[in-house]
C-alpha cells in the first residue's frame, strides 16, 4: 500500500475545523492555548454560529487570538474584555459573545470588570486560561500563582506574607447570583479535552438561552514560563495546580434546579 492509497476521504479520521485560520500560531509548543482555541472553533462550527459569534481578545499571550479563529473579534485593553462584551451583547442580543482571558487579565487588572459583568448576569461566556503566570511579559507572578511557585517577580517563590494568596476567582464568581455556570476544566489529555469541549458548548448554549454568565476556567500549563518541558508541565499541573484548583463544576444552575425538584 502506498501513501497515495492511504490518503483518501474514506480513511479520514480527523480534520482541522474550517474555523481555524491557516496563520501559524505564536504560542509555545506545549501551551494549552492552542488546544482551547481549537475546541472553541470546533464548537462554533458544530453549532453553526460562525456568523453570530463575536470574540473579545485580552492583553496577554492570547492577544492575537483573533488571528486564529475565523469570526469577528475585538481586542480589548488589559482586563476590560468583559466590559466590551457587555456592550456587544446588549447591543446585539442575538449574538454569541465571549471573552478569552488569562489570569492576569481576568483576576488582577480586570477583577472589577469580571465580577460586575458576572454579577449583572451578562449573557456572555468568559473563557479563562489559568496558567498561574504572566506568559506574554516573560513569566511574572500572577494572582493565581501558587504558594512557593517561582516566577520572575517572585524569584524565591510566592510568599503569602508579601504577595497574598493564590486567588480562586472562579469560586468567587460561582457565588454571584448572575452566573449560571462556572466550571473548571483542563486540556492535557483526551478525556479532559472531551469534557472541556462539552463545557464550552454548554456555556454558549446558556448565553443564547439568556441564563446569565457562564465561566469556563481552563487550568493550563505555561511550559516556557514554568521552565519545564511540555510533558513535565502537564505532570506538574496535575500534581500542584489541581490541588489548589480542583476540576469540575463549581456551579450549574440547571443541576441545582433539577436537584431542587
Amino acid at each position: 500500500m502506498t501513501t497515495k492509497d492511504i490518503i483518501k476521504p474514506e480513511n479520514l479520521v480527523y480534520g482541522k475545523t474550517k474555523l481555524m485560520t491557516e496563520n501559524q500560531m505564536h504560542y509555545c509548543p506545549g501551551c494549552s492555548h492552542g488546544v482551547v482555541h481549537k475546541l472553541i472553533a470546533e464548537v462554533i462550527e458544530e453549532m453553526n454560529i460562525q456568523d453570530k459569534a463575536i470574540g473579545v481578545a485580552p492583553v496577554g499571550c492570547a492577544v492575537f487570538a483573533y488571528n486564529y479563529i475565523d469570526i469577528d473579534w475585538q481586542e480589548a485593553a488589559h482586563g476590560r474584555a468583559p466590559a466590551l462584551a457587555t456592550a456587544i451583547k446588549r447591543l446585539q442580543p442575538d449574538k454569541y459573545v465571549f471573552t478569552y482571558q488569562g489570569d492576569g487579565d481576568l483576576a488582577a487588572i480586570g477583577t472589577a470588570e469580571t465580577i460586575h459583568a458576572c454579577n449583572r448576569g451578562e449573557n456572555i461566556v468568559i473563557f479563562f486560561i489559568n496558567n498561574a503566570i504572566y506568559g506574554m511579559t516573560g513569566g511574572q507572578m500572577a494572582p493565581t500563582t501558587l504558594e512557593g511557585m517561582k516566577t520572575a517577580t517572585c524569584p524565591f517563590g510566592r510568599n503569602t506574607e508579601l504577595n497574598g494568596y493564590p486567588l480562586k476567582i472562579s469560586n468567587l464568581l460561582a457565588e454571584l447570583d448572575g452566573t449560571c455556570y462556572v466550571t473548571r476544566q483542563s486540556v492535557q489529555k483526551m478525556a479532559s479535552i472531551v469534557r472541556a469541549k462539552k463545557a464550552i458548548r454548554k456555556a454558549f448554549e446558556n448565553s443564547i438561552a439568556g441564563k446569565g454568565t457562564s465561566v469556563v476556567e481552563f487550568v493550563s500549563t505555561c511550559n516556557s514560563g514554568w521552565k519545564m518541558s511540555p510533558h513535565d508541565s502537564n505532570k506538574w499541573m496535575e500534581e500542584h495546580m489541581f490541588a489548589k484548583y480542583p476540576l469540575g463544576d463549581l456551579k450549574d444552575t440547571e443541576k441545582v434546579h433539577t436537584e431542587a425538584k
Binding site: Q50, D51, K52, A53, I54, V56, A57, V63, Y66, D70, I71, D72, W73, Q74, E75, A76, A77, R80, A83, L84, A85, T86, A87, I88, R90, L91, Q92, K95, A112, E113, H116
Partner: protein
C-alpha cells in the same frame, strides 16, 4: 410655533441622545453631570427606541463598554466629569487608535485631584491635546447654551461617524447645570441592523460568508505598520482641521480688542464687551465652538487688525497657549482666569482687559 422646553443642559443631552437615534449610553455617576444618566433612566428609551442604557461599575468600564459598542458600529456614548474623564483616558486612546466613532461628554468641574464640584474649564489640555497615551485627537465641541448641549449630541455623532473618530462635548459645569429654554431635535429612528452593516462594514456585526472577519484592534507590533497607522490618523486630523472649524464672532468687525473664550465664559465675555462698548472701547468676542479643530484662521485674520487679545478661561490658562501659537507674537495675547470653581464676572473681565491691554 416651536416647542420650547425648560431644562438643564445635562437633561438636554439625555433627551437629544434618545431623539438622535443613539443605540447605547454607558456611564457612571459623578457630579455635576449625573442628570444625564438619571434622565435617560427616567425616559426608559429601551421601551421606545430600543436604546440601551447601562450604569457601569466604573468610568473605566463605561468607556470600555463604549469601545465594545462602537466596535459593532453602534451609536454609543458616555458622559462624565473631570476626575471620571481621567479614568476614561485609556479607553479613549484605544478608541481613537482603532478609529471608532463615539460621543463622550465631559461636564467639567474644578481640579486637580478630587477638586470641587463647581464649574471649571481646566480639562482643555486633556480634551484638545489628546489626553491619553499616544498621538491622537478628539473632535471637541464646546457648547455655551443648553440649546447647544442638545444640538451638539447629533452634531457630535455625525462628525464622529464622518471621520470614524471619537467626538467630545466639552462643557463646563455651568452649561450642564443651568436651566434654559431649548428646542429638542426631532425624533430620528435608530438604524436597522442592515443599515449598521452598510454604514459600518468594519463593525463586529457577525462574520457573514460574503466577507472576511472584522477585527477591531489598536495593536500593531511592527514599527512600520504602527507608523503608517499614525500617519493615517494625522492625515485625518489635518482633514478635520480643514473642514470642521466652527466659531462665533461678536462685533469683531471694528474691534480693537478681542476677548477669546469658550463655553459659558464666552457669554460673560459678551456682557463685558457690551459694558466696554458703553465706555467707548471697541471690543469684540471670538468664541471657538470647535476646540479641536481650533479656529486658527479667524484668529490669525483678526491679529492683522486688532491691538490685542484677552483670553478668558476658568483655568490657569490653557486655551491661551493655542491663541498665542496662532497669533505668533504679532500682537499681545493676555490672559485672565479664575480657578477652583470660581466663575469670573463681567466686571472682573472688563477690569482685566483695561489693566492688561487698554491701559
Amino acid at each position: 410655533m416651536e416647542d420650547f422646553k425648560l431644562m438643564k443642559g445635562n437633561e438636554a443631552i439625555a433627551h437629544a441622545a434618545v431623539r438622535c437615534g443613539a443605540d447605547g449610553y454607558f456611564g457612571y455617576p459623578i457630579t455635576p453631570q449625573s442628570e444625564v444618566m438619571e434622565t435617560l433612566m427616567e425616559l426608559k428609551p429601551w421601551e421606545t427606541t430600543g436604546m440601551v442604557v447601562l450604569q457601569a461599575e466604573s468610568e473605566v468600564a463605561a468607556i470600555n463598554m463604549v469601545y465594545g459598542g462602537a466596535g459593532c458600529g453602534k451609536k454609543v456614548m458616555t458622559s462624565s466629569s473631570s476626575p471620571g474623564m481621567s479614568l476614561k483616558q485609556e479607553g479613549i486612546s484605544y478608541i481613537a487608535s482603532a478609529e471608532l466613532p463615539c460621543l463622550i461628554v465631559n461636564v467639567m468641574r474644578g481640579g486637580p485631584g478630587l477638586g470641587t464640584i463647581q464649574p471649571s474649564q481646566a480639562d482643555y489640555f486633556q480634551a484638545v491635546k489628546g489626553g491619553g497615551h499616544g498621538d491622537y485627537r478628539l473632535i471637541v465641541l464646546a457648547p455655551s447654551t443648553v440649546q447647544e448641549m442638545a444640538d451638539f449630541v447629533g452634531l457630535g455623532f455625525d462628525l464622529a461617524f464622518k471621520y470614524q473618530n471619537p467626538a467630545m462635548i466639552l462643557a463646563d459645569g455651568i452649561v450642564g447645570q443651568m436651566m434654559e429654554k431649548v428646542v429638542l431635535p426631532p425624533f430620528k429612528p435608530r438604524r436597522t441592523e442592515e443599515e449598521v452593516r452598510q454604514e459600518c462594514p468594519w463593525g463586529t456585526t457577525g462574520k457573514l460568508p460574503n466577507r472576511k472577519r472584522n477585527i477591531i484592534t489598536s495593536l500593531a507590533l511592527e514599527a512600520e505598520v504602527m507608523e503608517n497607522i499614525n500617519l493615517k490618523l494625522q492625515a485625518k486630523y489635518r482633514e478635520i482641521e480643514k473642514n470642521e472649524v466652527r466659531f462665533e464672532a461678536h462685533q469683531c468687525e471694528d474691534a480693537d480688542y478681542v476677548l477669546v473664550a469658550f463655553g459659558s465664559i464666552a457669554r460673560i465675555c459678551e456682557k463685558a464687551m457690551e459694558m466696554a462698548r458703553e465706555e467707548g472701547y471697541k471690543v469684540g468676542v471670538l468664541r471657538p465652538i470647535t476646540l479641536f479643530p481650533f479656529p486658527t484662521n479667524p484668529i490669525k485674520e483678526l491679529s492683522q487688525k486688532v491691538k490685542g487679545f484677552l483670553t478668558v478661561e476658568m483655568s490657569a490658562g490653557q486655551m491661551v497657549e493655542d491663541v498665542r501659537l496662532t497669533v505668533n507674537g504679532t500682537v499681545p495675547v493676555e490672559f485672565y482666569g479664575r480657578m477652583g470653581g470660581i466663575v469670573p464676572s463681567a466686571e472682573e473681565i472688563l477690569a482685566a482687559l483695561k489693566e492688561k491691554l487698554i491701559k
